[in-house]
Amino acid sequence: MKMKYLKDVTTLAFHAERCVGCGLCAEVCPHGVFHVESGKAQVVDKDLCMECGACKMNCPEEAIEVNAGVGCAVAIIMSWITGKEPSCGCSDDGGCC
């Protein structure tokens, strides 16, 4: 069963006229949001998008826009407190190897 989060919240926007059908968006998306058929990508299910930004980063034609970020409540609370951009808490910044 595919778990779905809230409906109609993602900032994903797809400009079909720029798409050249290279297929990379469908390759990188971890939730199968894109499907490429006969030389064009299409959005299959927008509500599955987690705004990771992989599609936007890898689209050579800049046909995709999305406000990428971390979907993490703690990170968002920290950003409210510190006034910085939310960032994933898996490690402290400034950490050294």
Partner: protein, 341 residues
């Protein structure tokens, strides 16, 4: 966390060194023990491997190159799944963060990849011009930019390391199944220790305050209160994540609140907190504890693999005011009981 003995500026890793090390594909007892410790947050920040080029088996100039992060858990999972293969591993300096989180931060990214390709002299080591990146690294990497500045074309491999062998042997084809992130019961359970450790830190402070209150209380906090509290932690940080797909609702906070309310009601009822002398306590805990579970469950959005930041923000805007309100009112009722008996 320790600062280690070397400097890691954003994109240049002085810890990489040019000599290629060979790695084994079997994990030792120490590796497994270390993995367990990292899950519980013990010495997690020191759990790294040096960036650079590694050899698995006996690779030659035709062998595939896999790219990964320098978090040791990631590295171990990868090499464990490469037994019998001859290939190269190019380890980026992600400061000990796994591929997914590092890609989000941009440390597993275009610049670091380009830097490492040049630093290890990859174009002299192999004759082909292909790199296999984990698909989860894609949010940090612009494949076309890497090709432009190094000549190496990026191929995104499967999401899970266990599919890599199939991916390579099928001529670099990943099925849709191999491309999709899942969030299985097991995936969710291995993440819960971290949630527990986090809330244990807060709990210690809570216990400190309660201890002080007990000095002047008419009805001191006791074992029953502790158990009710512990249950709300367990429900929010372990049970809710584990049962995530089957609990009604979509918002994590709601799911946590629902289970928290059921759990607290059972406990309060069994202690007789719903009858006259204790009613204040019962109602107070019904307001405080489910709200607490809701908050912990909401924090699990950070560990989940399908929540979008826009969605989490929307959930928080509704949930946090409710949680705070419920918590404060409930706390007042409990304190009334504590000081007035």
């Amino acid at each position: 966390m320790s600062t280690g003995d070397c400097c890691c500026e954003a994109n240049n890793s002085c810890c990489s060194n040019k000599a290629v090390k060979t790695v084994s594909t079997t994990l030792t007892f120490e590796d497994i023990c270390g993995a367990w410790k990292a899950r519980w947050g013990i010495g997690r920040m020191d759990y790294i491997v040096n960036p650079g080029l590694y050899a698995v088996g006996s690779p030659n100039s035709d062998s595939p190159v896999l790219v990964s992060a320098n978090y040791k858990l990631t590295f171990d999972t990868l090499r464990k799944n490469l037994s019998g293969l001859d290939c190269w591993l190019l380890i980026l300096n992600t400061k000990g963060v796994n591929v997914w989180c590092a890609a989000g931060k941009g440390t597993f990214g275009t610049d670091e990849l380009i830097y490492q390709i040049k630093a290890v002299g990859l174009s002299e080591t192999v004759t082909h011009r292909k790199l296999i990146l984990p698909q989860l690294g894609a949010p940090g990497v612009r494949a076309h930019e890497v090709r432009k500045s190094t000549g190496f074309s990026v191929m995104y491999g499967p999401v899970r390391a266990s599919d890599i062998k199939t991916f390579i042997s099928s001529g670099y084809k990943a099925t849709k199944e191999m491309r999709t992130v899942k969030f299985t019961l097991w995936d969710r359970l291995v993440l819960t220790p971290m949630e527990l450790v986090e809330s244990a830190k807060v709990s210690l402070m809570v216990f400190g305050v309660l201890f002080l209150l007990n000095l002047v209380a008419v009805r001191p906090f006791g074992l029953e209160d502790f158990l009710a509290y512990a249950a709300s932690v367990f429900i929010g940080a372990v049970v809710t994540p584990a049962l995530l797909p089957v609990i009604p609702g979509k918002a994590f906070a709601f799911k946590g609140w629902l289970l928290g309310a059921i759990g607290t009601a059972c406990i309060a009822w069994s202690y007789g907190w719903f009858s006259s002398p204790f009613l204040l306590l019962g109602v107070g805990y019904m307001l405080v504890l489910p709200a607490h579970s809701a908050f912990l469950a909401m924090n699990f959005t950070g560990a989940s693999t399908y929540t979008s930041p826009s969605g989490v923000l929307k959930e928080m805007k509704i949930a946090i005011p409710l949680i705070v309100f419920s918590f404060v009112v409930g706390m007042l009722l409990i304190l009334m009981k504590t000081f007035m008996g």
